[in-house]
């Protein structure tokens, strides 16, 4: 049977489809349960109903096994079409025509109850849950076409509303951790305002935006299109350091009804070129079809604290190795003589190393002029941050009449981040309505308005905590730093060499000025972002004539973004130099709009009683428009702290940018089914894209998929309740980002000695007139089975894909005349296996349901276009550490310069007693991609209590973190205690007349003599040289770490308040929960860095840490109720 023709009002369609079959159905929310109505045929004739006056009333109350009232249970007088639904209190009343009747109660997820009643009686019905039926759902397949799950020839992962909201996540994507096989989530640290990355089935593209396409109620929404090829967060030490958000954050999880992840090429082929990295299809909540007026309320409050911080040593304070200390004017130990200090010495405040004197509470003069005790500050790193708070309130109103049904919701999110100064507030209004125009025509109107205000968005702290300029010592008290970043009159802190600027000038030169600058940015300066976004759509469903249907849709996604940046004057204008001041003011405005439209004409009919078919023809088009404008003061502000463009010291700087894109496609779909157990679908798409050179701007691709429901086709052993085989093959084309392939020049008007002269500049990324679309070819087979009356389920998919003509903004040697060019670079391929398993191991008073998934993926560079020998994705430490791929190699391999060895494998030690690094060759130091990722979710229920928890994990692969190496070289970590004293393995030696116990003797042979190394060096020299910046360091040890973990991601412990109590409160279904997210690692291999620290949306950037902000742990509660 073909039910692929429906959209919108399912009931109408199902009524029609099921007419004449002995199949009944129930609808709850978006799920449809089909059941057999065995006796329906015999009792058809009863349709000629008895006269009204003959009817008598039966009343009743329906509850579940917990005594909870069930709302919307369908009550049917058997043998008639006379039915009703229970009301919000679980009560019903129905007229029966005879003195006694048989009532059938049905409700989604529950076993049918059949009860004999007598007229006038009041009954209490208890319904028992049934796991088996939950699974027969209809999913939303390509282009909004709905199909039965069993007809799908490819894997999809569906996540329910409950799973998305139970732990109080502020966005849906971070709620997906571990919940869908083959989907890897990485949230940028920084909390609710930070972008979330979703990676589906490994590496689908080597460059540019790796994010899936988000389709909300059929509309392709903006994720971060306005950022073009670079994407939202760059994972780069130099560019914008604010951790940006992406458009996915604007979709309110409370408004989501269901979320489906489409993974393979066949599943996504109809969505077109943006779907090459997968599609996340989101359907927002509608008014429940069978409910009347309803009000839903949800509230959650969580507090966030930074967690998973590095393990610091708390013994030694600032100072370098002995020789460096002396060369810097300190004692060998690291004290600086200072007669004004009580002890006669002060600490070496400028040192980034922590190889100085032991912190033993000595009274010393501090850099602010006070006398303080020289003591460890174990929590100083943690105290950079604050406790964050997230409050999320959601109220939804829904109603339904014959003509109209709607759901209107309002959500208010208030968020205070763990980074000081960072706050966000968001208002979301969502309307989802269906208007029945005629019997054959209905119109869905959906609108969502999101207003977001963000203040001082968090920073990635690479320049602060990952740079020597921000290294504060273990003796530094964070409350002092927080006190001193500004002077008492609101100017920026004054360094020791400008005592004329303030009497509060620091008296000594200190190291961590980058940290003071950061506090100045976040706590004094103000950076406001306001975003107003309206996503709206109208969909017309029209049954034109029998078998022929039309669906047309038009939608838009508009965002107006405003930012205002107020930088305060750093010192009084009287200290300005002649040509500039400090402070600044900037405003930027962005207007981003997407106009989307599609139309689909479908003809469905049957060829014979066994064969059904449907054919669709359609059009889909999208036009995107991005406008940005920005103006700022230059050279500072003339009048102190007056924030307006009229207060610029220099000539105003202003810029404007327009970007446009157009994509459209013609598509066709053909569906065939045989006996309702064999299904075949073919699709074709001819696509046009304005982002490719005109001669290559159109491309065609087909896909095919099929499924075979074995359990319907033949008799299987009783243990197997369901079995389906599926297979698919698909091709998806993908075009380039806007304007990247243009060969064009920037013109600037220069005001010169000759007057205004235009200069014409070739860009540093070069275009390509021959660029072609890249195409992904994917094969997939899968098996879906359920056993033991559906108590155990297993879903296995295997896929392999290749992406040909891979488009890449290839980093080039500057000597070719630009630093990158967009090219079709070659072919990559991925293979993977996804396994999802679910079971209900215990099903009694205590009920335990568990879901487990694991996925494996391996991606390779298959071949490169002529002229390229290898691809370099990442290069650091003077090329001592890089991620490159040669044809045939796995993607993500890390290569490092090794320590030099002699022919017989002994390490070569230089005359300074340190390892010699061999810069003539590279050795592989691992791969950044995980071997396996997945999750393990559980629900345990007992009476009114339920416990949900999700564990997610990553096994295998490495992380590259140069900042960790620098911090190790600076002696900050516990692991650098080694060698520092006799207790930690330090050797004893005498230098001058002093005996030291921090000797290190590296095993190996001397570079010049070839004899065993005998040079004992102090621990400071060892760490500072071996783990310093650059290619002379032992990068493999310092920067490359195993990265595997098992994390308790989410826990929700809920209590459903018993119905009688609720009733007194005039509420229903009141649930209170304790919730926690990112609670702790059950196991992790990384010691001094969080596995989720990295930022950026390139495929490799998740394996590379360039210094980010700390991760956090959230704890709180949530409350939900309806009226």
């Amino acid at each position: 049977m073909d039910v692929s023709s429906a959209n919108g009002n399912i009931s109408q369609v199902l009524d029609k489809v099921l007419k004449g079959h002995s199949v009944g159905y129930r609808v709850e929310d978006r799920q449809v349960v089909l059941y057999s109505t065995n006796k329906a045929k015999e009792e058809k004739s009863v349709k000629s109903a008895s006269p009204q006056q003959a009817k008598k009333i039966v009343k009743g109350h329906v509850v579940d096994t917990n005594g909870e009232s069930l709302v919307g249970v369908s009550v049917l007088v058997k043998g008639t079409n006379n039915g009703t639904l229970t009301d919000v209190d679980g009560n019903f009343s129905i007229a029966v025509s005879t003195a006694s009747a048989t009532l059938q109660f049905s409700y989604i997820g529950y076993n049918n109850e059949i009860i004999k009643v007598n007229a006038g009686e009041t009954v209490k019905v208890v319904m028992k849950e049934n796991v088996k039926e939950i699974q027969e759902v209809i999913v939303t397949a390509p282009v909004g076409v709905q199909r039965q799950a069993k007809a799908l020839g490819y894997a999809v992962s569906t996540v329910t509303a409950k799973q998305l909201t139970e732990a109080g996540n502020t966005n849906f994507a971070s709620a997906l951790y571990g919940k869908a096989a083959g989907v890897k989530i990485t949230t940028a640290p920084g909390g609710a305002s930070s972008a979330v990355n979703v990676q589906i089935r490994g590496i689908n593209s080597l460059n540019y935006n790796q994010q899936p396409l988000y389709v909300v109620d059929g509309i392709m929404i903006r994720n971060d299109g306005q950022n073009g090829a670079t994407g939202a967060n760059n994972n780069n030490y130099w560019d914008d350091q604010r951790i940006r958000g992406n458009g996915a954050l604007d979709i309110n999880p409370e408004d989501i009804e269901s979320l489906t992840v489409l993974k393979g090429a066949s599943a996504t082929a109809l969505y077109g070129s943006d779907a090459a990295s997968g599609v996340v299809v989101i359907t927002t909540k509608k008014a429940s079809k069978d409910k009347g007026l309803g009000v839903d309320l949800n509230y959650n409050l969580t507090s966030e604290q930074v967690a998973f911080l590095p393990k610091f040593q708390n013994v030694y304070g600032p100072g370098y190795d002995q020789a460096d200390n002396i060369a810097s004017g300190a004692t060998a130990e690291g004290w600086i003589a200072d007669s004004s200090s009580p002890s006669g010495y002060r600490p070496f405040f400028r040192s980034y190393g922590n190889f100085g004197p032991k912190m033993e509470g000595q009274q010393v003069k501090w850099w602010d002029g006070s006398t303080r005790s020289y003591s460890p500050q174990p929590d100083n790193y943690k105290n950079i941050y604050q406790t964050g708070l997230s409050s999320n309130f959601n109220l939804a109103l829904s109603n339904q009449t014959d003509k109209l049904n709607y759901r209107l919701s309002y959500t208010r999110l208030d968020y205070k981040g763990t980074q000081r100064g960072s706050e966000q507030a968001r208002n979301t209004f969502n309307l989802n309505s269906t208007l029945k125009l005629t019997n054959s025509m209905s119109l869905d109107i959906i609108a969502s308005y999101v207003n977001t205000n963000t203040h001082n968005r968090p920073y990635q702290l690479g320049q602060v905590l990952g740079s020597y300029g921000g290294f504060f010592s273990r003796a530094e008290d964070m409350s002092l730093m927080l006190d001193k970043f500004q002077t008492s009159d609101g100017y920026k802190y004054v360094t020791y060499n400008h005592p004329e600027r303030s009497s509060e000038a620091l008296i000594y030169n200190i190291r961590a000025t980058n940290l003071l600058d950061f506090f100045w940015q976040q706590l004094r300066n103000k950076y406001y972002e306001t975003e107003n976004r309206l996503i709206s759509s109208a969909t017309l469903n029209w049954d034109i004539i029998n078998h022929l249907k039309f669906r047309g849709r038009i939608g838009s996604d508009y965002t107006g973004a405003d930012t205002e940046n107020k930088q305060y004057n750093e010192y009084p204008v009287s200290f300005n130099s002649t040509d500039n001041s400090t402070g600044g003011y900037a405003v930027t405005k962005g207007a981003y709009s997407i106009l989307y439209g599609d139309a689909l004409l479908t003809y469905a009919n049957k060829l014979s009683s066994k064969f059904n078919y449907s054919a669709s023809l359609g059009y889909q088009g999208r036009s995107e428009n991005y406008k940005d404008q920005s103006s700022s003061t230059t050279q500072g502000l003339i009048t102190e702290n007056w924030f307006t463009l009229n207060n610029s010291y220099g000539i105003l700087s202003t810029s404007s940018k327009r970007q446009q894109l157009l994509k459209y496609a013609y598509l066709g779909i053909l569906n065939l089914s045989y006996h309702d157990y064999l299904f075949l679908e073919g699709t074709a798409r001819q696509e046009y894209s304005s982002t490719l050179p005109p001669k290559n701007n159109h491309f065609f691709y087909p896909s095919v998929n099929g499924s075979f429901v074995i359990s319907d086709a033949m008799k299987l052993p009783q243990e197997i309740s369901y079995a389906k085989l599926r297979a698919s093959y698909g091709i998806v084309g993908n075009s380039a980002p806007m304007y990247e392939s243009n060969i064009a020049y920037s013109q600037n008007s220069l005001q010169t000695i000759n007057g205004s002269v235009p200069s014409l500049v070739v860009g540093s990324s070069y275009g390509n007139d021959n660029l072609k679309a890249e195409t992904k070819y994917e094969r997939e087979v899968g098996l879906e089975t359920r056993f033991l009356e559906d108590r155990v389920g297993l879903d296995i998919s295997f896929y392999s894909n290749t992406v040909k003509n891979q488009i890449l903004g290839l980093a080039t040697a500057a000597s070719v005349g630009a630093t990158s060019q967009i090219v079709n670079v070659g072919e990559i391929g991925s293979k993977g296996l996804e396994i999802a398993f679910n079971a209900t191991p215990i099903n009694g008073p205590i009920r335990w349901m568990t879901r487990f998934n694991i996925s494996f993926n391996k991606s390779k560079l298959n071949s490169l276009a002529q002229g390229f020998s290898q691809l370099t994705f990442y290069d650091s430490e003077q090329s001592a550490l890089k991620i490159v791929a040669k044809p045939g190699e796995e993607l993500g391999n890390i290569y490092v310069y090794p320590r030099a060895t002699t022919a017989d494998g002994k390490f070569i030690i230089n005359d300074d007693g340190l390892y010699v690094i061999d810069k003539t060759k590279y050795v592989k130091a691992g791969n950044i991609m995980p071997k396996a990722v997945g999750g393990f979710s559980n629900t345990v229920m007992y009476k009114n209590l339920s416990l949900d928890f999700t564990i997610d994990y990553r096994i295998g692969g490495k992380m590259v973190s140069n900042p960790t190496k620098y911090m190790m070289g600076a002696g900050m970590f516990e692991n650098t205690m080694q060698y520092r004293d006799a207790e930690h393995g330090g050797l004893t030696y005498t230098s001058g007349s002093t005996t030291y116990h921090d000797g290190v003797l590296l095993e190996g042979v001397n570079q010049t003599t070839g004899q065993a190394n005998t040079k004992i060096i102090d621990a400071g020299t060892y760490y500072m040289n071996t783990f310093g910046w650059g290619y002379d360091a032992w990068n493999e040890k310092g920067s490359v770490y195993n990265n595997s973990y098992i994390k308790l991601r989410e826990v929700a412990l809920s209590y459903r308040i018993p119905a009688p109590i609720c009733k007194k409160l005039c509420m229903n279904n009141v649930k209170v929960s304790l919730i926690g997210r990112n609670l702790f690692y059950l196991w992790r291999t990384l010691e001094n860095i969080d596995p989720e620290a990295p930022l950026g949306n390139k495929w490799w950037s998740q394996g590379i840490d360039v210094g980010s902000t700390a991760s956090s742990r959230s704890l709180g509660f949530s409350l939900s109720a309806n009226f």
């Binding site: 000695i753 200069s759 500049v761 070739v762 000597s815 070719v816 630009a818």
Partner: protein, 531 residues
């Protein structure tokens, strides 16, 4: 709204989408903010508009003051463990800016290739009018490329710029540094000859933001560059240098130079090759110098060279500085620089006792031009040539002219400051004459005389022209500087003799890099560094 109108509306939208799409597809392909029309004069202006030549914040702060100025001691640097370690990312940017433009540097080579491609497509008539742009651009290209060779040695050149050339990536070989010098020297001669016979035109005068279309100055620029390069190789290949240099010096009418008419009291603005700041430029070098910090006076220059000679340039290059005591500024009594081996702790406690770089001339002077080549340098080069291959009397004249011109030059820079800071009046010619003839006297053995030429030239270069200062220091080994080496990272105890190739080039041009990898150490010498 009735059913019919909805359907009609919907169909109309769809029809509109269909019909407008095809036209828009191509229209939307090109970035509306950019031009697709190649234009030789526009490219030429872009080449000249180079913030690697002008004293811009980025180049001074991240390149000059962190590398060449340290290695040549023309600026103060903090003594720490990595004082002599090159900042890889920053040096890579300098490298990249030679090949590919961004806001810091003009990408001379890539832009020149774009000009060549545009030029090739012209008709013969158009070629004739545009040739002047090509010739001038080539002089600038060779000038910038020679600095690249001085910094790194072998560089990709002849095959470089394939993207502009063919729109495809074709990695370039590293050309041999000696051959490149030969190419530059020959090319500059050819360009000088061209400019000696060509008259300017209005377009060229407009787009030439360096010399406003003055072909005589272009000729002098090309000749003077050639003189610089010939002297640079004179220790490695003395015969070639000697022959060519003497030919130029003995035929000064055929080979006019940037020599300020050999007048000590010359006008740098009218004769030197200086790239003026844009009229919209309002910044200065205060941050660039004070951030590291680099604004303290360098020991050898002030204490060993200028102060003993009571050099009149001291007043415009340095400031005595002083301490703020009880809210009152107490200036130091005399010029004095911190010792080169001062520890950082010492520097932090005592910086106020020592001189700093002058505010009017250097720290807060938004009018500072980019220095391409100046008369004092040319006369120092002449002095060296005469001393080695001609008469020592001629050498003396050239040396004295050069020193006087250097004084004029720094007083010129000082006087450019229009911000209201105090401008120092230039001493009288007599005073300057006295300085030149009795305090930095051209006497002694030929070696001593050469040493004087080189030391004075080094003073003249200063950190503003520290790329030249470092090259000449490596070539001549004068002044005889000492560099503190205790407490340095292993392997970084001394300044390098060249820069290490940048990571991006190594990775992405790996095959060609392999041929020069063995030479890619910080202690390899540039071919002309043979003393």
């Amino acid at each position: 709204m009735n059913k019919k109108s909805i359907i009609e509306g919907l169909l109309l939208v769809i029809v509109l989408l269909f019909s407008s799409c095809t036209d828009q597809l191509e229209e939307k392909y090109y970035n509306p903010e950019k031009s697709t029309q190649a234009n030789i004069p526009g490219f030429f202006t872009a080449i000249l508009n180079n913030d690697r030549v002008r004293p811009s914040y980025w180049n001074v702060r991240t390149f000059l003051l962190m590398q060449p100025a340290v290695y040549s001691q023309t600026a103060y640097f903090t003594n720490n463990s990595s004082s002599y370690q090159q900042a890889d990312g920053y040096t890579e940017q300098y490298w990249n800016n030679f090949y590919s433009p961004n806001s810091n540097g003009s990408g001379v080579l890539g832009m020149y290739r774009a000009m060549e491609v545009a030029y090739k497509s012209l008709s013969d008539a158009d070629k004739a009018t545009q040739e002047i742009f090509m010739q001038a651009a080539r002089v600038v290209l060779f000038d910038e490329a020679s600095k690249m060779v001085d910094l790194w040695g072998d560089i990709p050149f002849s095959e470089a710029g394939s993207l502009e050339n063919t729109s495809a990536i074709s990695n370039a070989k590293f050309d041999d540094q000696k051959e490149l010098y030969t190419t530059f020297i020959a090319g500059l001669k050819e360009a000088a000859t061209y400019f000696s016979t060509t008259s300017t035109n209005a377009t060229f005068s407009k787009y030439d933001i360096l010399l406003s279309g003055n072909v005589n100055k272009w000729q002098r620029y090309a000749n003077s560059m050639r003189l610089r390069l010939l002297m640079r190789i004179s220790n490695y290949d003395e015969n070639t240098a000697k022959t060519a240099v003497l030919e130029m010096l003995n035929n000064s009418s055929t080979y006019p130079l940037v020599d300020g008419s050999n007048n000590g009291n010359y006008q740098p603005a009218s004769t030197d090759i200086l790239l003026q700041p844009l009229k919209t430029y309002t910044d200065n070098l205060n941050s660039a110098l004070t951030e590291l910090p680099s604004h303290y006076a360098p020991d050898y220059m002030l204490n060993k060279v200028m102060k003993p000679a009571n050099d009149p340039r001291m007043d415009v290059i340095f400031d005595k500085y002083g301490a703020t005591v009880n809210n009152a500024f107490v200036p130091n009594k005399e010029y004095s620089a911190m010792p080169i081996d001062a520890t950082s702790a010492f520097a932090e406690n005592n910086y106020m006792k020592y001189a700093i770089v002058d505010s009017t001339t250097l720290l807060q002077n938004k009018s500072l031009p980019g220095i391409v080549i100046t008369a004092p340098e040319v006369n120092f080069l002449k002095a060296e040539a005469f001393e080695r291959w001609g008469s020592t009397a001629d050498a003396k004249t050239a040396y004295e002219t050069a020193v006087k011109q250097s004084v004029s030059f720094y007083y010129y820079l000082n006087a450019l400051n229009t911000s209201g800071l105090k401008v120092v009046t230039k001493p009288s010619d007599n005073e300057i004459n006295d300085f030149v003839t009795s305090r930095v006297t051209y006497t002694g053995t030929p070696t001593e005389k050469l040493a004087k030429i080189w030391v004075q030239k080094w003073v003249h270069f200063g950190w503003l022209q520290s790329v030249q200062a470092w090259s000449e220091y490596r070539r001549t080994k004068y002044p005889q500087l000492t560099f503190p080496s205790t407490g340095k990272l292993s392997g970084y105890e001394t300044p390098p003799t060249r820069l290490i190739y940048p990571s991006g080039e190594k990775s992405n041009n790996a095959d060609n890099y392999a041929t020069v990898q063995s030479k890619d150490t910080r202690t390899t010498k540039i071919f002309w560094d043979v003393k």
